[in-house]
């Protein structure tokens, strides 16, 4: 990708709180639904079958949103890699880098929303940490950033101590609200409401803006706080947003649990004139049908509440790529 090209965002892990995997019963239900729909149809070659799946079978049946926990890549055209969070999706990302470009001589810049377990658990299985010629810079605003990663590797939690990792690993403390230049991106962090705090990141390059805002609860009656997020999301091409709960849950039984809803994400994006809202950090209890329904409902809500600008609504899935 040439340096002046746009950004590409790739999702390696999209699930909130804990990784999940499909059960054999769910796979069987998908196969049965597909086979019934395919009855009498000419799907006797891989090409015809693929075309049939693409055109006639709902995404929630023919695919899966996936189950790895938070990890998002922002491809900038630089040879350096830029990531947000190191949930279990980081394992898949690391394997992909190794397969495509070999095991060594890579530089990774990782921006951490916070250090809760689902956001760091992929690190011990992120194979680039075991190659001496790799350089990994981990950025974050938490004072305990480095300590959290070290403790995860300490006995009895993991057999390889942090001191045994052969890559060059650095921790870089950021100040919220200050602008930094990293790997050709302008980056700014913002404090978010979450147990132990979390931080969102606004990335900007060549007129394109991506906001990564996960593990954040929004108190909609705190008008100053709301306006702060409207400005943080202002004119973004893409807002990746924690929509783990329904609004009713987030304002009742799960109030102060530190997560938000599709509704609040949409309202903030509408007020900020953001172009796309990507639902993210999916509830682990939700199966593919439930996430697809959440997407359809959010699109409908956008339709009935639209002012003079449309917000495109997406639901992140493991492997999804968005070109900006």
């Amino acid at each position: 990708m040439p340096p002046d090209a746009g950004l590409r965002v790739r999702f390696w892990g999209t699930r909130g709180s804990i990784p999940v995997s499909m059960t054999s019963a769910e796979i069987r239900r998908k196969l049965i639904a597909t086979l019934v729909r395919a009855a009498g149809r000419a799907v006797d070659t891989p090409e015809k079958a693929a075309s049939f799946l693409e055109r006639e079978i709902d995404f929630a049946v023919s695919h899966t949103f996936g189950g790895n926990s938070s990890c998002v890549q922002i491809a900038t055209g630089s040879t350096d890699y830029v990531l947000c969070d190191l949930g279990s999706g980081a394992r898949v990302f690391g394997n992909d880098v190794l397969a495509a470009r070999g095991s060594g001589d890579h530089t990774f810049h990782v921006f951490m929303s916070h250090v809760h377990w689902d956001h760091i658990m992929g690190f011990p299985f992120f194979l680039p940490i075991y190659t001496p010629t790799n350089h990994i810079r981990i950025y974050g605003c938490h004072a305990e950033l480095e300590d959290a990663f070290r403790r995860q590797h300490a006995a009895p939690f993991f057999p390889v101590d942090f001191s045994g990792l052969s890559a060059r690993i650095e921790f870089v403390r950021l100040e919220p609200g200050r602008e930094y230049e990293v790997a050709g991106l302008s980056v700014k962090a913002k404090l978010q409401r979450h147990g132990g705090d979390s931080y969102g990141y606004r990335f900007q390059r060549a007129g394109r803006v991506v906001v990564y805002s996960t593990d954040a609860e929004h108190k909609q009656d705190d008008l100053g706080e709301v306006q702060g997020f409207v400005e943080f999301f202002r004119d973004a091409d893409l807002v990746i947003f924690d929509s783990q709960y329904s609004l009713a849950e987030a304002t009742s039984i799960k109030e102060d649990w530190g997560h938000s809803s599709n509704i609040v994400g949409l309202e903030l994006c509408q007020r900020a004139h953001a172009k796309r809202l990507c639902l993210y950090h999916h509830e682990p209890l939700s199966d593919d049908h439930k996430i697809a329904a959440l997407l359809a409902e959010t699109r409908r809500l956008e339709e009935i509440t639209r002012g003079d600008r449309r917000v495109e609504i997406l639901a992140a899935y493991d492997g999804m790529e968005i070109a900006l």
């Binding site: 909609q220 008008l223 809803s261 959010t298 409908r300 509440t305």
Partner: protein
């Protein structure tokens, strides 16, 4: 934002209109407050008539949630009624239909909340 109260026996029907959003929700909350204070066991029941409301945002829904929590804590009864189709869809999508008492019309709400109030409503 104004609410217009109308009494039917032991129930106050509070009618409001327009948009309940970040610009108006605080006024809506303030207007509800004196009625909520009397929404206790043995005192007034409240039914909020949303027939004139064309839009409600998350902050407006939060006002309703807080009102419901307060009423429940006081042993009172509260519900909302007569949602326009778009507002009903917002309630469905946000799952507020699962946490608030939502009735298709004021009459049906009164029937559930208070038979004496229904009789008074039918007599008017």
């Amino acid at each position: 934002m104004d609410v217009t109260p109308k009494r039917y026996a032991d129930t106050i029907v509070l009618a409001t209109a327009g948009r309940i959003d970040h610009a108006t929700s605080e006024g809506f909350k303030t207007a509800l407050a004196p009625h909520l204070a009397r929404c206790t066991a043995g005192q007034d029941r409240i039914l909020i008539d949303l027939a004139g409301v064309e839009y409600i945002s998350s902050v407006g829904l939060r006002v309703l949630m807080l009102a419901s929590k307060q009423a429940k804590a006081q042993g009172g009864t509260i519900g909302v009624a007569a949602l326009q189709p778009n507002v009903k869809e917002i309630f469905d999508i946000t799952r507020f239909t699962m946490v608030l008492n939502v009735f298709p019309s004021v009459r049906e709400g009164l029937a559930q909340i208070s038979p004496p109030a229904l009789a008074a409503f039918d007599a008017t």
